[in-house]
Symmetry: C2
Subunit: 340 residues, 2 copies
């Protein structure tokens, strides 16, 4: 693997053709936005390029690929965008894992699987790097490319809320907005609309929310029944809810995996380390989003969790900042699955 610069990447793409662009499984706005932005730019340079994803792409992302039909060609160059690890290609695309010519990514955890790697982990979104490359390529950013890049940045920053947002994220978006595009349509799709099922799921989860340790811990339990009757994507939206409650430093979601096995998601602010709490129970993850798997009845599991939280709270002397929103990343989810 060779680390390269933005200019190198632009040069390589300039001389490439028949480019297959890979996006990651459980596709999000950044991998798809990055993929379709660079695909549109490459096509405007009269190159052949396709974007593929090994997973189902939710309908809410339809506009990113509008007008981008699948072209018929044998790929000569494989480009991966926003993919930290070949495992994230998913089963259907796993055969490309050792064939990636260039990977463009912003995850510090990138495994270096590609022949060439353009990595900038100071960027909130991969789409920010793609924006720079398109400019270096000399391609004019039109409304469609602007929508793709905006989608990548806005979704990866939680609409500019998360602590990964930078001045540069806002500068790029300001420049995109001067081009003019329907950003509020995108925002409504990405951040406002919920399906009826999602709303019902949230209500059932919130109904059963319990508070412990003077309201510093909130716990939601999702039973096997609730899980089996839900879309996994909807389920992911539940885990941030307990931490939204005023005064809660540690939000926990219990997912009943089997009668006496619970998969646990823990969410904290920067004042309390979720990964350390989970490590006390054999799990791990990131500072603000971690996971573990605990055996026992629900009461026993909650007891173990509360003990781990109490121990970690007394070990950590930081004041309650009650302040920081962490973005649960694909890596967290991946990490949590591996721990279970």
């Amino acid at each position: 693997m060779i680390r390269i610069t933005r200019n190198d990447a632009a040069d390589i793409l300039k001389s490439a053709d028949k480019i297959l662009i890979l996006t990651h499984q459980s596709p999000d706005g950044d991998t798809l936005g990055s993929g379709y932005a660079i695909c549109r730019a490459l096509r405007s340079l009269n190159k052949q390029a396709n974007v593929i994803c090994g997973d189902f792409v939710p309908a809410k992302y339809d506009y990113l690929s509008e007008g981008i039909d699948i072209q018929d060609f044998e790929p000569e160059f494989i480009l991966a965008v926003d993919i930290a690890d070949p495992k994230l290609l998913g089963k259907n695309l796993s055969h490309y894992g050792d064939k990636v010519d260039l990977c463009i990514d912003h995850h510090g955890s990138n495994t270096g699987y590609a022949k060439k790697l353009l990595l900038d982990d100071t960027c909130a979104a991969c789409a920010e790097i793609i924006y720079d490359i398109i400019n270096i390529l000399g391609v004019e950013i039109d409304k469609c490319i602007a929508e793709c890049i905006y989608t990548g940045i806005s979704t990866d920053t939680g609409c500019f809320r998360y602590s990964n947002t930078t001045a540069n994220s806002h500068f790029i978006v300001a420049k995109l907005m001067q081009i003019g595009f329907n950003y509020f349509r995108i925002n409504r799709r990405m951040f406002e609309i919920k399906s009826r099922e999602r709303i019902e799921m949230e209500m059932r989860a919130l109904e059963g929310m319990e508070y412990f340790l003077d309201g510093k811990v909130a716990i939601i339990t999702l039973t096997k029944d609730m899980i089996n009757n839900s879309d996994p994507g909807e389920l992911e939206g539940i885990t941030p809810l307990p931490r939204q409650v005023e005064g809660v430093r540690c939000g926990i979601t219990l997912k009943q995996h089997d009668d006496n096995v619970y998969r646990i998601s823990v969410r904290t602010g920067h004042d309390l380390d979720a990964s350390k709490i989970c490590a006390r129970l054999g799990g791990g993850g990131h500072k603000c989003a971690a996971g573990c798997s605990v055996r026992g009845t629900r009461d026993e599991v909650i007891d173990k969790l509360l003990n781990a939280v109490k121990d970690e709270m007394s070990a950590c002397l930081k004041p309650d900042e009650d302040n920081i929103i962490c973005r649960p990343t694909i890596d967290d989810i991946q990490g949590m699955d591996e721990l279970a």
Copy 2:
């Protein structure tokens, strides 16, 4: 009333002293952020300046006034920020209504009550104008001023989601972020944390949500009991909920005012005009947020509302854009109160 420019306003403030800064009732992030930003800038020029509000200021805004003690002086200059109408000063400050020397505002509906008016309704937030004035005054924007201006812009744009957000909003925020401040702490306070009461209120409201006209209309009913047991601020958060549901073009909240009188809030996208729906029932308001008052049993009221929605849907030929988020403004709420 004389309309003035940003440069004029800066000149006037340069020669003023003992400045009393007025903010509007039901204070929000923009009026308070604008007020404390300019107050901090004026004090750094060795002027005396205070910010006052006629209403209770929620604790979540505490950081805006951190370190800004009340100074003891007889006001010689009255400055109003983000106040479109002297009525919005509220009872406690109403005596200042005809004494405002300078009003800085971004509401097109400004009544022109002040002696001098700096109005720019292309700005998403009053804080954007304040940012320019502070720069013209030559005051260095420190972390505290940056937090105040960021709060104004982020709250008035729904964290950059609403259709009023401009390239300039993002440019200013990019420049503020280069100064460095804890924006994610602000975002958590403004956009994430909910009180337990708020969550319970939302759940009770959502539990009773009903769908009509093939799911294009969603209605929430708040009974007299629910209203009497709630903080009015929490109630305001309920009205956007029905429109969040996938497929809903018209979200309606019924607030039981008396046994047979309901106050109605209607929320739509730009594809359907809420004010026209409400006008059919003797009310009015804005395109995306309007209100009316309807007599009858709950069933009768819903019937009347659905007829008005159906009539307006057939009168309006626009396709369902399902897309636009409108910011309910102080003006909407004001308008709706007056209509009831």
